[in-house]
Symmetry: C2
Subunit: 345 residues, 2 copies
Amino acid sequence: MKPKLTLKQIARELDVSVSTVSKALRDSVEISEETRLKIKAFAKLYNYKPNNIALSLKNRKTRTIGLVLPEIVHDFFATVISGIEEVANQKGYNVLICLSNNSFDREVMNMEMLANGSTDGFIISVAKETQQKEDYHHLEEVINQGMPIVLVDRVVDQLTCDKVIIDDSEGAKNAVQHLIDSGCKKIAIITTVDYVSVGKLRTDGYLEALTSNNIEIDEDLILKIENVDQSQDEINEFLLTREVDGIFTVNEQFATSAVKAINLKGKSVPEDVLVFSFSDGELSRRFIPSISTVDQHGAAMGAKAAELLIERLENTVEEENFQTALVKTSLIERESSRRIKSSAV
Amino acid sequence: MKPKLTLKQIARELDVSVSTVSKALRDSVEISEETRLKIKAFAKLYNYKPNNIALSLKNRKTRTIGLVLPEIVHDFFATVISGIEEVANQKGYNVLICLSNNSFDREVMNMEMLANGSTDGFIISVAKETQQKEDYHHLEEVINQGMPIVLVDRVVDQLTCDKVIIDDSEGAKNAVQHLIDSGCKKIAIITTVDYVSVGKLRTDGYLEALTSNNIEIDEDLILKIENVDQSQDEINEFLLTREVDGIFTVNEQFATSAVKAINLKGKSVPEDVLVFSFSDGELSRRFIPSISTVDQHGAAMGAKAAELLIERLENTVEEENFQTALVKTSLIERESSRRIKSSAV
DNA sequence: TTGTAAGCGTTATCAG
DNA sequence: CTGATAACGCTTACAA
């Protein structure tokens, strides 16, 4: 076991000073060709690599991005990470990931842990609980300390920082419009409780689509779910007791549950009911029938977030000139919304 | 914007020395009650937090774990991360994540990036390409430098370090045995190419199960796939041209493709063919029919890996006394393997 | 009880 | 051209 080589050791070995070694390795013109080559050869031979921690301390920059996410076993967040990691790595940054598990306390702890020098800035998608509490002091504090933050997807309007969002409401509207265009007259929505910002926005999009097509809004066709995990029963009961010909859901999980509920009724998707869902992932792609989705382009969102953050870290952007990047959604039509026999219209 | 407070500033402010402040904050008995309280009050008031980077440099410990994974948009790895993160955070460690995207070069780069002081140790699941090349010099180098490594899931036998694996072969064997017990006579396997260590082991388990039940091995019922993404066609062709009553697949994706292929044939799962898959995830849980799986307990594997690494980092374990933790698999029986009408036997 | 100084590994400034 | 020195923020002998 050979411990890591340091400048000091090289200096001692070659009988020069530490600063000479440092300069030689950085190709300073101050150093004679001869010593420079000698030092570089030695360093290469013994595979010298400067110590990141020492550099961080010196430069007061870690070249590390702190990423705080609500969860990770979830296609969307996983793709976001991919996008961030891709850009970050390519620009020489590392990504320090913490999971809040949707808990406010853990989010606060994580941020405190990282804010003390471990990272240069943050990319955050806030926890559900945080949105519910509407307590953002931990975010404000970090911003006040001069660390840039980029919020992704689950953003907080009242914070002054860069944001990356998709047009949740428009995406939802387009999906519902698609159902309407396919002849649906009675379209239900299965969504989350309102304090989840994106759930609310998607619900808004649903309402807008109906309104702009002069379809009366029926509160009885709106199901708001608190907890995804225990939702199948709720969804079954909801759909068994209502007659609908189209269903819009705010995530893939709800969509598959809806299909099951419809099957339970002895009907099927898409023959009797069309289904369109927000969030594209493997589940939608592989389900039978495959589920039509609103693609959120998670990787693109992540990449954009990383770019915004790095721009700020490297000051290539005006101070105080925060932007909100809007990543476009797109519809991916699959079997679940393809009208087969014209049962409607 | 108030930049971070340092010991030096507190010292200047209170007109004492830096070391007095440092000691007071660490409750040293050397410091008088009076000054200690004064300093602590001040620090608390202005929310002083020591700088992690400086601590890291001083202690030559970062309390950071480097995690290098092949991919992340994949339920299994996502659960592994969750498990690691959980344990790490609870023990005061951070997790620095890098993705290799299954590329050897990226894996090497990532490790070099993190090995220069950024982390105290590594948890790694090696890239497919690395397993193919069988080039592990980057891992050996890190080990030689005295940084502990824990390999997870995709391990490398010839490396001397801690490992966390599941009994892939036994899990597969149990699953196939289950199919046999359910009356299957002609069981096909859809697996990966052999250089993927876990694919190979699962294939071995399949073979073992057949052999120990005196079922002749039919090479024609073994399909080895290189690339998951383009596999549907291959699987269709494979299953359309063979008569089988049971299928074992090494991942969820193959299982869903198999179900589709069977449907294409005008048959169905589980009525005509039973399906059992390795790897449990949301896809299996929600698919129709829901897929029976071998649960890998990813979170448990991650947690175990983090524990092993941290033990080593904190020297609570004998040097050179490496262990291979074997996490037990378990079968989760769902619809896809539940015999409905006894078409077989 | 408090303070000084050295050191963690680097780099930058300034002298020699 | 080379080297000593200080500094990044912190801890810890060792002095005072």
